[in-house]
């Protein structure tokens, strides 16, 4: 019932904005500056919403795009030199700390459109103190354990609901002659972050501590548990025989041929990179949580979302907020994301394309989804460094504790190089 009222209010707001926009066409238009990465601003849905806004309201958007490689630097200089934009696009990751969020951006918890955000999208855009930093307006996918449902059915087996069941499932599959998990150990940096996400997403205080260098991976038992599980799984043959050389381009064939039954990936991958050159197609796959011994019930990783933030020190704060409200209007975002393959950021989003796999697992996803945390929020984190440490574990050059130590060393070295507070050399 509440949702219906909210939808009604949003519709009224949109109508008002439209009315205002029509009025603005008379010549009293506002010009807003939007700063973002060149590649981000050029996304089709971004261009659509910008165009729609200008057309509908008669206002102007001055786009200040920077090349990806120089974006962080140029944007920081703009804020430092008093040349900040009205609207600023950025992912909620560690780099955002360079922009003094509390000083420069408006918290948006009180905006009308907040309730229309999906829980995961809202969580992604919220800081540790519960402040909503921006409007998520982006494409995303659901990362989890995608398994070959057809094979499991043929074996009279069912997907796991707990870590213990997942281990049994892997064990039985291995005994039966399958490679339970396709683990692309060669440079595929996303794999370990699925295990790390629950650790830090469920404990923001721990995230802050590690980002202030007050704690290390080695002092977090869950990290060691994860590494130990990965090591044991590899030894038990759950990753198959060639996991160290298996890379990005090998995953599709492993799954399509049925050699491997499961992998940790995201749904859009099946539509962008998966080539069914074997017996199995995307229709044969389903989604269950990732189990890496860091969440008993498993977890999904939410998408990394680009959000639009409002410069609280600008002279067009109200107009900027109106722009966000315009973007958060169902008609507008549905128009912008029409035909785009993505998980919804808005509850009213219905023109985007969502995979059957995610749709079927919707309940489990919404229950067990964690905000993407490790890669985006841990200062100095590098998936490549973690993969390198794991490879030395796989090769026997180091043990579990040594692997964790290597992960810490590379992270601390990177954070120090970035000049992060609390790290050596800062």
């Amino acid at each position: 019932m509440r949702k219906r009222w909210a939808d009604l209010l949003l519709a009224l707001l949109a109508a008002l904005l439209l009315t205002a926009g029509c009025g603005a066409k008379g010549g009293s238009g506002v010009s807003l500056t939007v700063m973002g990465k060149s590649s981000d601003l050029n996304k089709s849905y971004m261009r659509s919403i910008f165009a729609l806004y200008e057309k509908t309201t008669g206002n102007k958007l001055e786009i200040r795009a920077f090349e990806d490689s120089e974006y962080e630097q140029k944007a920081a200089e703009a804020f430092q030199s008093g040349n900040a934009p009205d609207l600023f696009m950025h992912f909620h990751n560690a780099d955002l700390s360079r922009f003094d969020v509390a000083e420069n951006f408006l918290y948006l918890n009180g905006e009308d459109w907040v309730d229309d955000l999906t829980d995961s999208a809202k969580a992604y855009c919220t800081d540790g103190d519960g402040n909503l930093l921006g409007l998520p307006f982006w494409e995303s996918s659901v990362s989890g354990c995608y398994y070959n449902k057809t094979i499991l059915d043929s074996l009279g087996m069912k997907p796991a609901t707990t870590q213990a069941e997942f281990d049994v499932l892997c064990q039985v599959l291995a005994e039966t002659g399958y490679t339970p998990i396709c683990w692309p150990g060669n440079g595929c940096a996303w794999m370990p972050q699925f295990g790390l996400d629950p650790i830090f997403a469920d404990d923001p205080e721990m995230l802050e501590k590690i980002n202030r260098n007050e704690i290390t991976y080695g002092e977090i038992p869950a990290v060691t548990d994860m590494v130990r599980w990965i090591g044991n799984a590899a030894k038990a043959g759950w990753f198959g025989p060639d996991y160290r050389s298996c890379g990005w381009s090998d995953i599709g064939h492993a799954l399509s041929s049925g050699d491997a039954v499961m992998t940790f990936i995201w749904d859009t991958w099946f539509y962008t990179d998966f080539k069914a050159d074997g017996e199995y197609t995307v229709e044969d796959f389903a989604l269950m949580p990732v189990f890496m011994n860091t969440a008993a019930e498993g977890s999904f990783e939410g998408g990394n979302l680009n959000m639009m933030m409002v410069n609280r020190n600008g002279d067009k704060v109200d107009a900027a907020l109106e722009f966000l409200a315009f973007c958060a209007t169902p008609e507008n975002y549905n128009a912008a994301f029409d035909g785009i393959s993505t998980v919804s950021c808005f509850k009213g989003q219905n023109t985007n394309i969502q995979s059957k796999m995610v749709t079927d697992a919707r309940a489990s996803v919404s229950e067990k989804e964690r905000v993407s945390t490790a890669a985006s929020r841990i200062v100095g984190y590098s998936g490549d460094d973690v993969v390198a440490a794991l490879d030395r574990l796989f090769s026997g050059e180091t043990d579990v504790e040594g692997c964790v130590r290597l992960m810490d060393e590379s992270r601390i070295a990177a954070a120090s190089a970035q000049g992060a507070d609390g790290f050596p050399g800062a």
């Binding site: 043929s154 069941e165 039966t176 002659g177």
Partner: protein, 979 residues
């Protein structure tokens, strides 16, 4: 065939034994495995029968409890409160450990003790059995939170709890709790145990993590190797309520699957155990048995192998020993022969064997050759021993190829010739190349020697022909003159002037012919190796003085300047063959005079060269002239016999062409070297270098003993003064040198006035201004002293001797200045007893009135000698052989013969024998009568032989009376003295 069979029989027996052992083992293991399978199956059946009974007991207990609690509820439901019921049931839950207690309504709803409504999806059949048939039931259920539970339900007396009307009651257990009650620890946790329905669907699983199976029959169909027939039988068993056991393979592990009906409804207890786990106990026994058998088998096998190995080792050792013996023998053999043996592997040309004499014969270290046979390439002169692979491979099996090779020893450079034979053969199935390098060096050298000898013989023949040709020419030339002028002499005998002219020319031709014959004989003697050196002590000054005497007139005759220089301070006394050295130097100087035009200049220099050994002195004799010189081409053959440069000048000069050849041979004989530098029209320089032994040093303090401490020397050549000063150094005599006669007079006068008269004055003869003789005269006039005054000259002083002696000259000294000559000349003057002998006059008529016994078989020679003696005023008696000479002498009266002139080569008795006979005779003058050899045998050994035979001297034919007078006169005077 039998031998071959005997050889392989042990191997066949061992193989057969192994085959039998393997067969027995296989049979045994199959038997044991079957037994183990049956026992383990029986064991599994017993285990899971107990589990099944335990599960049945668990089910029965729960149903029994539910019956009991149902009765309680029916009793208390009439008077008890819900809270009392709840408390009662909570107590039971704590005691019995179930999860929840449910009140079940007739329409399938459930109410927990806590009053929460739930829906239990037990299935229509179950509900019907419970509510309609009023039977106790058991069913699986999955809660909304995903938790799987097992529900036990039993009909109860209808009642109500918290307003909820129920007809049955139930308890639930989580599957984890259920599993723990069914878990079997006997198989190390590797067993899976399920409660399933007859369609295979899983009610609960004992796996600790939970069940991941929905239908185990589907799993078996998909994952195991069970055939459809077996699967159908399993399903039929389940429908029939039968138990069973099947063995299957899941993945790569053998499993034992056992199923038994639970006994309630259609539930089955199904267990799946890896065969290895099920049979672990049996397998350990089997393993032990197997291990024992393997150990026994291995021990027996090891014993057999050891036996065979020992036998093989013994045989191998014997073979090895034999091989070592053979190799050693072969090494010794090859070390003692000059043939080299090599064996190469045909595949890669690696060395299998190489005989150790390689290093001795070619200087190649054996290890180097073993590593790479191509090191022999370094020694190859005309062929590469490492034959290219293609050439080796071209040799058919069991055939061979030959090559001739020449090698040079790496260290000594010695060349050796080999015949290389390469055999391509197969040894024990491996192809080899056996290379035999057969030494052909001696054969080759022999051939070479024969070839050389043939060449030499041809050369000798050619030389002989050339020699005869040359000799014919050179002898006929003077002979032609002799014959021709003799004819003219006869014709013009009445014309004294012509007779003298012809006689002079005949004499000149005769002398030339004689010198030719002497040279030829010398050359022949030298070349035949019969020339020996007559080594004795001699005086270098004397030798040079005589040379000066001989050659100075020749040079003066051509108005040439012959200058003798002595450089350095060569010792005066040395040991060597004076005559040969004299001959060498005369040859060189004569040639210089001969081939230097009138008025030319000849320098003869003697210089001492550095010598490392103190007992030797090395001298260089240099003869330099500014004569006609020689072409470069002729210089190359100047020392070859009969070599004379043919040009307009030399054609007019008489010569045999043997002088330089003889000189060269003599120099070689004396261990010296001779060199020549010359340019046509500019002159020649001949250099002879040779060493002489130094005699023991004599005491040389004679000057001091004679109180000679001051000496005046006058010579216009400053160099000569310096030479004399140098030579006199160490004698204790202080020299005053002046360069002209007047200065000499002044110096002598001044010394006299000071009371320091010179003890010796030495004046050069020819000096500008006042010469030596005049200076001597002045000194004698002014000083009235008897100080010895000597004249130093390189000229013949005979023409001035009388004048010089009248002027007060005491003696003459020939240049170059030698201390010893000086001393020997001076010494008599000091002693005042020696005869004044400058050059004793020859006794011209020494033979006058003497009677000679002449032993000469040649009538012509006898006649000539008779005439010559007659010319000297002597007489002679002739004997035609040695015997006759002996007889004449022994029969003669003492003093009858003054001397015997003995030919050597005579018939009947030669001269030596005759001399010995005379000396051995009883004649009173047998020992004293002078006997002089008179022979054409003119070599040194001929002289020695003559003296050895007892003769007193040696005269060479043809007889030259000028040369005869002196020795004959000396001997006659000796005889006279003795008499």
């Amino acid at each position: 065939m039998k031998t071959r069979l005997r050889k392989i029989l042990p191997f066949l027996l061992v193989c057969a034994a192994f085959a039998i052992a393997i067969l027995i083992g296989t049979f045994y293991f199959n038997f044991i495995s079957r037994q183990i399978y049956e026992d383990s199956t029986r064991y599994l059946g017993e285990i899971y029968g107990q589990v099944n009974r335990a599960f049945g007991t668990f089910v029965e207990r729960n149903w029994g409890l539910l019956d009991g609690w149902g009765e309680y509820l029916s009793v208390t439901g009439n008077g008890g409160t819900d809270s009392e019921v709840a408390e009662y049931l909570e107590g039971k839950r704590r005691f019995w450990g179930f999860s929840d207690f449910y009140f079940l309504s007739g329409d399938g709803d459930a109410l927990t003790v806590e009053g929460e409504e739930e829906t239990l999806d037990l299935g229509e059949e179950t509900w019907a059995a419970l509510l309609e048939k009023r039977e106790p039931v058991m069913a699986g259920e999955k809660r909304a939170n995903g938790q799987e539970i097992t529900v036990f339900a039993a009909p109860a007396e209808p009642g109500a709890y918290e307003g909820f009307a129920y007809e049955a009651i139930a308890v639930s257990y989580t599957n984890a709790d259920m599993a723990s009650s069914l878990n079997v620890d006997a198989f190390a946790g590797k067993a899976k145990c399920f409660v399933i329905r007859t369609d295979g669907s899983v009610l609960l699983s004992t796996q600790s993590g939970g069940s991941v199976f929905e239908n185990y029959l589907v799993y078996l169909k998909a994952a195991s190797d069970l055939s459809d027939a077996v699967l159908e039988k399993i399903q039929k068993d389940w429908l029939d309520g039968a138990s069973g056991t099947v063995q299957c393979r899941i993945g790569d592990v053998d499993h034992c699957v056992l199923y038994q009906p639970v006994g309630y409804q259609d539930f089955y207890l199904l267990s799946s155990v890896p065969q290895s786990a099920a049979s672990a106990g049996f397998l350990s026994v089997q393993q032990i048995t197997t291990n024992v058998l393997i150990v026994i088998f291995l021990l027996v096998g090891a014993a057999v192998i050891a036996l065979l190995a020992m036998r093989s080792y013994a045989q191998s050792r014997k073979s090895r020993t034999e091989l070592q013996y053979r190799e050693r023998m072969f090494d010794v053999l090859s070390n003692n022969v000059d043939d080299i043996f090599i064996m190469l592997d045909a595949a890669d040309q690696q060395v299998d064997y190489i005989s150790p004499n390689l290093e001795r014969l070619l200087g190649i270290p054996l290890e180097e050759a073993r590593r790479d046979i191509r090191v022999m390439e370094k020694c190859a002169v005309n062929y590469n021993v490492v034959i290219p692979k293609a050439e080796l491979e071209a040799i058919p099996l069991n055939e061979n190829r030959l090559w001739e090779c020449e090698y040079m020893h790496q260290n000594t450079g010695e060349r050796r010739w080999y015949r290389m034979t390469v055999y391509h053969m197969e040894l024990q199935g491996v192809r080899k190349y056996v290379i035999v390098l057969s030494d052909r060096t001696q054969e080759r050298q022999m051939n070479q020697k024969l070839q050389d000898a043939l060449t030499a013989a041809r050369s000798a023949n050619e030389a002989k022909s050339n020699f005869l040709s040359n000799m014919s020419h050179d002898i006929r030339t003077p002979m032609n003159a002799i014959v021709g002028f003799s004819t003219l002499l006869e014709k013009d005998a009445d014309q004294p002037e012509k007779v003298r002219e012809y006689t002079r020319k005949i004499t000149a031709s005769s002398h030339h012919l004689l010198s030719l014959i002497n040279d030829v004989l010398d050359m022949s003697k030298i070349e035949s190796g019969k020339t020996s050196l007559n080594v004795d002590r001699f005086s270098l000054p004397e030798l040079l003085e005589k040379l000066n005497i001989i050659l100075m007139p020749q040079a003066a005759a051509k108005n040439q300047t012959l200058t003798v220089h002595v450089q350095g301070a060569p010792p005066e006394q040395m040991i060597g063959d004076k005559l040969r050295l004299n001959q060498i130097l005369i040859n060189l100087l004569s040639n210089a005079v001969k081939y230097t035009p009138e008025g030319g200049k000849i320098d003869f220099t003697v210089s001492e060269l550095p010598q490392t050994a103190p007992q030797y002195v090395k001298l260089r004799f240099t003869v330099r002239d500014n004569g006609i010189g020689m072409s470069e081409e002729f210089q190359k053959k100047v020392f070859a016999p009969f070599s004379r440069e043919i040009n307009s000048v030399t054609n007019k000069i008489q010569g045999t062409g043997l002088g330089m050849a003889i000189t060269k041979n003599l120099v070689d004989l004396m261990g010296g070297i001779i060199q020549v530098q010359s340019k046509p029209g500019e002159g020649s320089v001949f250099t002879v270098e040779m060493s002489f032994v130094l005699p023991e040093q004599e005491e040389t303090d004679a000057w001091y003993r004679q109180k000679v401490t001051r000496m005046l020397v006058a010579d216009d050549e400053q160099e000569i003064c310096l030479d004399i000063e140098e030579l006199m150094r160490g004698s204790g005599v202080r020299l005053t040198c002046v360069t002209d006669g007047a200065a000499a007079v002044e110096a002598a006068v001044q010394a006299h006035r000071r009371g320091e008269d010179y003890h010796v004055i030495l004046l050069d003869w020819k000096m500008p201004g006042m010469d030596g003789v005049e200076a001597a005269r002045k000194i004698r006039e002014q000083l009235q002293t008897d100080v010895p005054i000597l004249v130093l000259t390189s000229y013949d002083w005979t023409e001035i001797e009388t004048e010089a002696r009248a002027a007060g000259i005491n003696a003459f000294l020939a240049k170059p200045f030698f201390v010893s000559s000086f001393w020997h000349t001076l010494k008599p003057l000091f002693l005042k007893t020696a005869e004044q002998k400058v050059d004793a006059p020859v006794e011209a008529r020494v033979m006058e009135g003497r009677l000679f016994l002449v032993a000469e078989d040649n009538e012509l020679n006898a006649e000539i000698l008779t005439e010559m003696l007659d010319m000297e005023g002597a007489r002679c008696e002739l004997a035609v052989n040695g015997r006759e000479a002996v007889e004449r002498f022994t029969s003669s009266a003492p003093g009858h013969f003054d001397m015997i002139l003995m030919d050597v080569q005579m018939p009947v008795m030669n001269g030596y024998e005759a001399t010995r006979a005379i000396r051995a005779s009883a004649h009173p003058e047998a020992k004293t009568v002078p006997i002089v050899a008179m022979t054409a045998n003119t070599f040194a050994e001929d002289v020695r032989n003559a003296l050895d035979a007892g003769m007193d001297g040696h005269l060479a034919k043809p007889i030259d009376m000028n040369a005869v007078r002196e020795p004959v006169g000396r001997l006659l005077r000796r005889k006279d003295g003795e008499a």
